[in-house]
């Protein structure tokens, strides 16, 4: 497999996690590509317009990439905090529509602003690594950190509160859970993950334009979670990896590949409505393993 594709798969997994976080709280937010675009634009602007960060060097310094990540996280975090207070009052499909609007507004603004390069975007984003291998390392570390955070979140109090809100928001509030703040936390975390992912993607792709954060991306990233499963963080990771790789792996079948890709997205939820990876799956596997580990009592005993 191409190393470049591996990086894209890992980026897909990160975006899947970004959609997953609010969804675990029962909030269908499609804002991920918007925050992803903000992260990418921040990285593109800083690395091409601020020579002090080291764009003239042979290799763009990693420290500057980390600085871009920090700034992107700050910007997306503050924006999500402000926006979340307003849009999270909406429920279900209305929240989805409002967040699609956010993505579209950001796209149109980026398309029309002078300093973001208009329709052409920003070119020649400096490279911190000599090849895609470096990006594999960077995205792997990032993915590992985000997975670890998600895992801790799921197994502790705020994660339990999120699951409770997903199941029954009213009952959750009656248990003393501040539902507004908990949903906001999930929304802000989602924005942070998307923003930081955008920074890495901008360097990896070498150029950045408004098309990278559009409505299509909203649906594709949502498909990662629907396909992989939204009950544990492994679901979106798996969905993101697989569904990013699939169109490339299907290249041999030519033009049929988009049809096959569409069919997979359609058939997945049909046969696995909870997604491919669910907690029940682990329980079943666990029980099988236990059963095979313990020797069965001999038959025909007196």
């Amino acid at each position: 497999m191409e190393t470049g594709l591996l990086v894209q798969m890992l980026l897909g997994a990160l975006l899947g996690l970004s959609v997953y976080l609010p969804l675990r709280c029962g909030q269908l937010s499609l804002a991920t590509p918007g925050f992803y675009a903000i992260g990418g634009t921040v990285a593109a602007l800083l690395s091409t317009r601020v020579p002090a960060l080291g764009s003239g060097d042979a290799f763009y310094p990693i420290a500057s990439v980390l600085l871009e990540m920090a700034l992107a996280a700050l910007l997306t975090g503050v924006l999500a905090l402000g926006l979340g207070r307003v849009v999270l009052r909406l429920r279900g499909i209305y929240l989805a529509i409002a967040t699609i609007a956010l993505v579209e507004i950001l796209r149109v603004v980026t398309l029309n602003l002078e300093f973001t390069g208009g329709a052409l975007g920003i070119f020649g984003i400096p490279q911190p690594f000599s090849g895609p291998e470096g990006y594999v390392g960077l995205t792997l570390i990032l993915l590992a950190v985000v997975c670890w955070l998600c895992d801790r979140l799921e197994k502790t109090r705020p994660g339990r509160a999120m699951a409770a809100i997903r199941d029954d928001e009213l009952a959750a509030a009656s248990q003393g859970i501040n539902t507004a703040d908990t949903k906001l936390l999930a929304f802000v975390l989602s924005a942070l993950v998307a923003g930081v992912t955008g920074v890495v993607a901008a360097h990896f792709l070498n150029s950045w334009n408004a098309k990278l954060g559009n409505f299509d991306a909203s649906i594709t990233t949502l498909a990662f979670v629907v396909f992989g499963g939204s009950r544990t963080w492994l679901g979106p990771v798996f969905g993101g990896l697989l569904l990013t790789a699939l169109p490339e792996l299907l290249r041999p079948v030519g033009d049929l590949r988009l049809i096959v890709f569409g069919a997979v997205i359609l058939v997945g939820p049909l046969f696995f409505p909870q997604g491919l990876i669910t907690p029940q799956l682990f329980q079943t596997l666990w029980r099988r393993m236990e059963r095979s580990a313990v020797p069965r009592p001999q038959e025909g005993r007196p």
Partner: protein, 254 residues
Amino acid sequence: MSLLQVENVGVRFGGLQALQAVDLAVQEGEIFGLLGPNGAGKTTLFNVVSGLTAASSGSVRWRGAAIDGLSSHRIARLGIARTFQNLRLFNSLSCLDNVLVGLHQHGRQPPLAALLQTPTFRRRESQLRQQALELLSLFGLDTAAHQNAANLSYGDRRRLEMARALASRPQLLLLDEPAAGMNPSEKDDLKNLIRRVRDEFALTVLIIEHHVPLMLGLCDRLAVLNFGQRIALGSPDQVRHDPAVIEAYLGGTP
């Protein structure tokens, strides 16, 4: 001072007057019953007390302080827990997790400790699990701890909802038709369980139930609602012989 005081509370949904000038005061430690035919406004009164429905007029006082207008999670944190008439469990979570969510307000830990899984964090978490398991066993649900709440029988789900409500260590427990769907022997057990829980947890209980014999045998005092108005208030004996109550239930006295 009464624990909970409902003063002149009225609720209007469009053209429907669900509650009208209802007054009642619940004293600490008692089991207070709300009786009344369907649509009398009993659940609406629960919703007003627990902050799910705003009162159109009047006020609710908790230990003397007005609590109307507070959001429901704030009211829950004051020490008022409730169950729901139509069961509102977290169906995709295990019984244990349902009760752990009930323990939400007592499980706060510093985020950094949770991330790093410090020994203190682990100890507190295992204490919480222990408390949750104890509550489950009080309700005979310890063997089902790891089952999904959705898979339980109806009576068990009712008991799980009570366990979850008790997890927050409330001072006032609102039970909305806890015996609905239970068979006669389960109803009898429930009566003893509610008494036992009241004594063990030093609770005050406000209970809605349709089963009149159960209510007369269980409650210290009762209020009867009909068409949104309080038509009677007093001990089980007083209420049983109240002409207004007899009329509401049987339709006219000879």
